[in-house]
Symmetry: C2
Subunit: 172 residues, 2 copies
DNA sequence: CACAGATGCTTCGAACTCGAAGCACAATCT
DNA sequence: AGATTGTGCTTCGAGTTCGAAGCATCTGTG
């Protein structure tokens, strides 16, 4: 996996190709997300996070806050805030779990489902126009495979809250 | 999340493969950016945006706010805020352009360069561990090509909400 | 030159975000 | 059981973000 890197002043820099891939990746996704945000706000009055929460709830009966947070890359407190917003807008309901008094069960309402239905076409249209249109079906497949692998790889990362191994490891 | 033939509000969704690619893409990048954010904050006390701004300024002598904004996906007002933060921290300088009194010229300071140098190794390490490690050099090349194409494609998009090319109605 | 519109940036208000701290309930230990 | 530790979520404060509106300057046209 580790290609031949350039050693420069003790810092191993990745090859230009690697950097290029990384920058293109983050920039393209930023641009994509920006357009998506606009569309969701304009057509449904919701944010991307809210849309993601609604999508997570759409197929299932209900989820706890923790279960939602596991699916969405988001802070717990931020999720609390957004869940409150969604409840205020009548798109979800919240109630304490009967099994565990600490847990909050969140469920999507008919109105929430309606909002998803109203916003989804435009969302798909945007992604189609910006993403699918730019790459071949074949490349898109490969892209999906690669990013799924990256996603799983990062998910498997150990929590780095207490392991700052700060060692240049004198291998010179 | 649901079956193969998803129909919400009479909308036909793209192929599952396409959706999978899109979701994997956004999720993986979100996870990656989260880790990057942590590293930059911990080792250099700066945010991702600030890092991007510094990186944009690193090679050149100076840039206007607009030029920076063109490179970073970010709102103008947000850029003003962050530039003020960076100036307060002594990492950049700001001064009005001699050519155009409206324009603000931003330049990185030695201290700014030092911060970049301090933070870059860790940044590279994180991307290596999370991204490069998960995919083969070959796939990474392909990924870079694809995302560069997507980026350019989106950049070419007509600014649908930014440029009011049609406002002939009433006089004011 | 006058002046209307464009351009570059900042200010403003409101909304959003995060981590730390807090609260209440649950599980585990002795 | 009582005490201790863990878990699920919310609250809180500080900082960040955006778009709209505002200000100053520039440019094009007559």
């Amino acid at each position: 996996m580790t290609g031949p890197d350039i050693d420069l002043g003790g810092v191993r820099l990745p090859e230009p190709r690697q950097l290029e891939a990384y920058f293109a990746l983050t920039e393209a996704v930023s641009l994509l997300q920006h357009h998506v945000e606009q569309q969701l706000r304009a057509e449904g009055g919701i944010s991307t996070v809210q849309f993601q929460i609604l999508m997570a709830l759409n197929g299932v009966e209900q989820l706890t806050m923790t279960q939602i947070a596991d699916g969405v890359v988001y802070s717990r407190s931020g999720l609390t805030y957004q869940a409150a917003q969604l409840e205020k807008a009548g798109l979800v309901t919240r109630r304490p779990s009967p099994d565990d008094e600490r847990a909050t069960l969140v469920a999507i309402t008919d109105r929430g489902r309606a909002t998803v239905g109203k916003v989804l076409p435009g969302h798909i249209e945007v992604t189609r126009r910006l993403l699918y249109e730019a790459v071949s079906a074949d490349d898109l497949d490969r892209l999906g495979d690669t990013m799924a692998r990256v996603r799983d790889h990062i998910r498997e990362e150990p929590p780095r809250s207490a392991a700052p191994r700060r060692k240049p490891s004198s291998k010179r």
